[in-house]
Amino acid sequence: MKANYGYKDGSGDFFITVDTDKCTGCGDCAKTCPAGVLELVDNGYDIDAETPIAAVKKEHSKKIKYSCAPCKPAAGYTTAGLPCVKACTAGVIDHSW
């Protein structure tokens, strides 16, 4: 399941996609994120699931463009080198911008 968190507005598309089928619930992304954007939650999309999944915190999902800005290319990172993307060995996290 691809869960998209974020929004679209006049300035562009800002979504973090979490592939919940691949997510192991290890929590490495949440520990790595310097802005505390990610957290582990119960898998509400699949009632049979036993492990938690990574998700974007509600308070960040509506201002993600700003929350994630310090890690973005302007600050010297590349998309593949984003701390959350790099921390996830399962390749679960993707950014749309």
Partner: protein, 293 residues
């Protein structure tokens, strides 16, 4: 005075309840319930052995637990069924954690996919839930399991609440808004403001310019449809396509959406607004069966 006031409540959509006359709960079977406490409306659905038995749909008040209770009470009215006979209940929607009698709370995304699957059949792949306060695009498989979802976390434009505001501004009853918006010869340019409040000011301006109500409504409906289409582009629209939630009853939006997307939404005799609660009741049944094992 009260009567007079009621006539001016153009935003007040019709509340409803329904019982399936072909089912008798006394025959036994698992009685499960789903309660969808949304930001604007609350629905309760009771199912007997996975078959739809009765439902209710009403406005959510300022008190979510109270709304859940009264929707449930209304659904049960006249059936002889009481809450203690319900074996499992799932709460869903914006106020899901506030359903006092729920066995479990499940996100509305999973419930709408499951409910959409029940209402429109296993062929449905894309479900657009246009609710009171947000709009969600859901992709699902033949079992009604979510494969992708997207919602706009930032903005309530393009939702039922926006429609209520426009019905109120124009003095047109919300049940007639969709039909009226189609009574234009040529489609006017869409309302350009995204924000509901600014869109309302823009519409006031158009009225002052002498635009008829039909034209203003057409401009707002097409703006709303267009906004949803751009949201859908991100996850893609796969046939078959269906719309759930209150806006599914607004023919002005539905027609414009299907024209822009070039797909015809599936139709059903069931109320598209109860999809979330149906999904909840189906999940409640599964939970009850699991517990019994």
């Amino acid at each position: 005075m009260a009567e007079e006031q009621k006539k001016t409540e153009y935003w007040r959509w019709t509340e409803s309840r329904w019982t399936n006359p072909d089912i008798d709960w006394k025959q036994g079977g698992i009685v499960s319930a789903g309660v969808d406490v949304g930001s604007v409306s609350t629905q309760a659905v009771i199912m007997v052995d996975g078959q739809l038995y009765c439902s209710s749909s009403m406005r959510t008040g300022s008190d979510s637990p109270e709304s859940a209770n009264s929707a449930m009470k209304w659904a049960l009215e006249g059936t002889g069924l009481t809450t203690d006979k319900i074996q499992a209940t799932v709460g869903t929607g914006y106020g899901r954690v506030n359903v006092p009698f729920a066995t479990k709370a499940i996100t509305e995304i999973a419930c709408h996919a499951r409910g959409g699957n029940f209402i429109y059949g296993p062929q449905v792949r894309t479900i657009l839930d246009m609710g009171g306060q947000d709009c969600k695009a859901i992709r699902c498989d033949e079992k009604g399991k979510v494969t992708a979802f997207l919602m706009n976390d930032k903005c309530a434009a393009g939702t039922g609440r926006g429609m209520e505001v426009f019905a109120d501004l124009l003095g047109v009853h919300i049940n007639d808004v969709g039909k009226m918006s189609l009574q234009v010869d040529t489609e006017p340019p869409p309302v350009s403001s995204t924000c509901v409040v600014f869109a309302k000011s823009e519409a006031s301006g158009l009225l002052r310019q002498g635009w008829p109500k039909e034209k203003v409504l057409a401009a707002y409906c097409s703006a709303m449809a267009h906004r949803v289409v751009t949201l859908l582009e991100r996850i893609g629209v796969e046939k078959e396509f269906a719309i759930t939630g209150g806006i599914a009853k607004n023919i002005g939006i539905v027609n414009r959406l299907s024209k822009e997307l070039n797909v015809t939404p599936l139709k059903s005799d069931l109320d598209p607004q109860i999809a979330g609660a149906i999904g909840g009741a189906l999940f409640a049944k599964v939970l009850f069966e699991k517990k019994g094992k």
